[in-house]
Amino acid sequence: MNLINTIDLAVYAGEVQLLQPLSLKLTAGERLTILGQTGSGKSLLAQAIMGNLPDSLRSSGEIELFGKPSCLKSRRALWGRQLSMLPQEPWNALSPLMSAANQLAETYRLVAGQKRAQAADSAAEVLASHGLSASLDKRVDQLSGGMAQRVAIACAMAGGAPVLLADEPTKGLDVSRRDHVVLQLLNQSAKGALVTITHDVAVARQIGGRIMVMKEGELVEQGDAGVVLEAPQHPYTRSLIAADPVKWPGRSGPEIEQGRTLVQADGLAIGRGGKALVSDLNFSVHAGEVVGVVGDSGCGKSTLGDTLLGLAAPVAGVVEQLVEVPKHRWQKLYQDPTAAVSHAVPLRTLLMDLVKLHHVDSARIAPLMQRLGLGHELLDRTASQVSGGELQRFCLLRALLLDPVFLFADEPTSRLDPITTREVSQLLVEVAREQGCGVMLVSHDPALIEKRCDRVIRL
């Protein structure tokens, strides 16, 4: 029996076709991975099947679920128990007011139909298996991004739905957690069908099954995972696979000589609210080098950045900033670029605000934008109207215009697809070399760290 069967499913915004007509079949025990860059229409496909497309979009074509034709209304009845979706951006999917354990217990109670006490037990047990036993009572804002993702995954799976649609389930997770999540998804798919949407080739490889490669709303290649990934036919699939950090060329050029010391940490302990997450850190960052920072999710990587930039007080020890420059030359890049800029005005206004405040030579903007691959028409839009990759490059543009001496890049590429990731991280290295800027690059991807960094600090 086909669990999912779509016939010429297409998605439109007004008259514009965002997703070209697509037919796919999925039987029990099958796994399907949809691979593609951000903005390629992957999520739209999942939302169209699920039946939760935004109001401004409409779909055409037919969808059969569990062998029966289904309309929007009948699909809603399947949510949670038969058909479950793991959405992107876990902190938006979770209630900000409830503790992790309570949210999950509620799902067990109301969706899976367990008794209150039993649901609480199930929740505690599952969260512990995700390595969250210390965070049962934490709310979303107290969890790190990776932890919130794990809670959301547990919630999506709690209903025991045989068909699971996972939209970028591993975005922002480090490798060990990613493997754990993939394993869980695979377990789930043994009982039903699994549709995974990802831009991570490694995840696609691990999940196996069938693969569909999408580009700009169009299916460019499909087939068995092994075949497609080993012998890609379409140039787009090839570039996507080549953009996997593992495949990047290594660092080239002579070893850089150490510049002056920018910042030094002595016996530093970092943490929030007086509780140390990591202690006894001793390191220094020099001009012109790229230092990698790795560690599990929630281990204090972002806190380290805040402490070095003087935004958070160290729990113990000292941080010394050894160069006398204005504060605005110590900069930071954020994990989620959409949360890091104002959405109220066009990007051009934000840029001009900066130019005016620091008397930046505006002749520098055009060449820098060209190098970052940013078109000028982009500046007329607001932050909500550009993609995450474009916005991250805009953030980088703003930071670079300030001639930073130190740049803390907090997982700047975790929300970007591999092709953009390669470009952005390459730029960071170039900037460090050219401007003599010390860069600390946080990432959960060991391959990326290895290919881009001169040294690594492990937390």
Binding site: K332, Y334, A340, A344, V345
Partner: protein
């Protein structure tokens, strides 16, 4: 956000408000005389060519008198909304972004004010100096700033901890910039809804004071007080009593309709 999109309800509400403002300011141009001069030979007249809305029990011209009362209500609404929004937003932003002790002090003041029912507080103030427009205005503004304060504080608290604000701070932008580019765009849409409801409440509160004889004193026209005055003549001239009532209802309705937020 540049193109202001209004819902049908909002268009209706703003249209009604515009009409009311036009009447309040333009009524005197269409009929000679004033709303306070009495003419005991023409009392309780039904609307006719000379007195478009009739006359009251002292023979005063209702068309002009209602316009006077409406002027007073509109002025009160505008003043109260402007003052309380200014105070509430300023204090809300300060409470959310400055030292924690300021937040605690402001919060306890708010709790103190909230402990008393709003109307009772206004009544106490009004009883100190009955009939003073200034005192009524101060009393209503004193209660209404709390809503703005609470909403602003909640929004700004969340935003102040956001990466966007942190990033702007790192880039060297000052507090005023943070307000302009980050806080204000988040507060503004809520503020409009609050202002519309606040205006309606201010109008109703002033009318309630008039109703219990501690508001604006006669012979000055005020909607609530007119309703009480005309109540005894309900049997002989029901149209008279209906006029301030309908006007009050339309004014409040217009405010509420314009606040019926654009759903985005």
């Amino acid at each position: 956000m540049n193109a202001l999109k209004l819902s049908l309800a909002q268009k209706t509400g703003l249209g009604l408000l515009l009409l009311l403002v036009a009447y309040a300011t333009g009524a005197a141009l269409l009929q000679a005389g004033d709303g306070n001069s009495q003419d005991l030979s023409h009392i309780l007249l039904a609307p006719d060519g000379q007195f478009w809305l009739g006359t009251d029990h002292f023979g005063r011209n209702m068309w002009l008198r209602l316009a006077d009362a409406l002027q007073l209500s509109l002025a009160m609404a505008v003043l109260c909304v402007a003052t309380s929004a200014l105070i509430g937003v300023t204090l809300g932003v300060l409470a959310a972004t400055r030292a924690p002790w300021l937040d605690r002090v402001l919060d306890s003041i708010v709790t103190l004010i909230l402990a008393l029912p709003g109307l009772v507080l206004v009544l106490i103030f009004a009883a100190i100096a009955p009939g003073s427009f200034l005192i009524i205005y101060v009393a209503i503004a004193l209660i209404q700033w709390i809503e703005y304060f609470r909403v602003t504080r909640a929004i700004v608290q969340r935003m102040a901890a956001s990466p966007a604000v942190q990033s702007s701070g790192l880039m060297g932008f000052g507090q005023w910039y943070l307000f302009r580019r980050h806080y204000w765009p988040a507060i503004a849409p809520q503020l409009f809804t609050l202002a519309a409801f606040g205006a309606a409440n201010a109008v109703l509160m002033m009318a309630s004071l008039g109703f219990v004889h501690v508001g604006i004193q006669p012979p000055l026209a005020e909607l609530g007080q007119m309703i009480v005055e005309l109540f005894p003549y309900y049997g002989e001239a029901p149209w008279l009593l209906a006029q301030p009532l309908v006007l009050l209802a339309v004014l409040v309705l217009a405010c509420h309709l314009s606040g019926k937020g654009a759903t985005r």
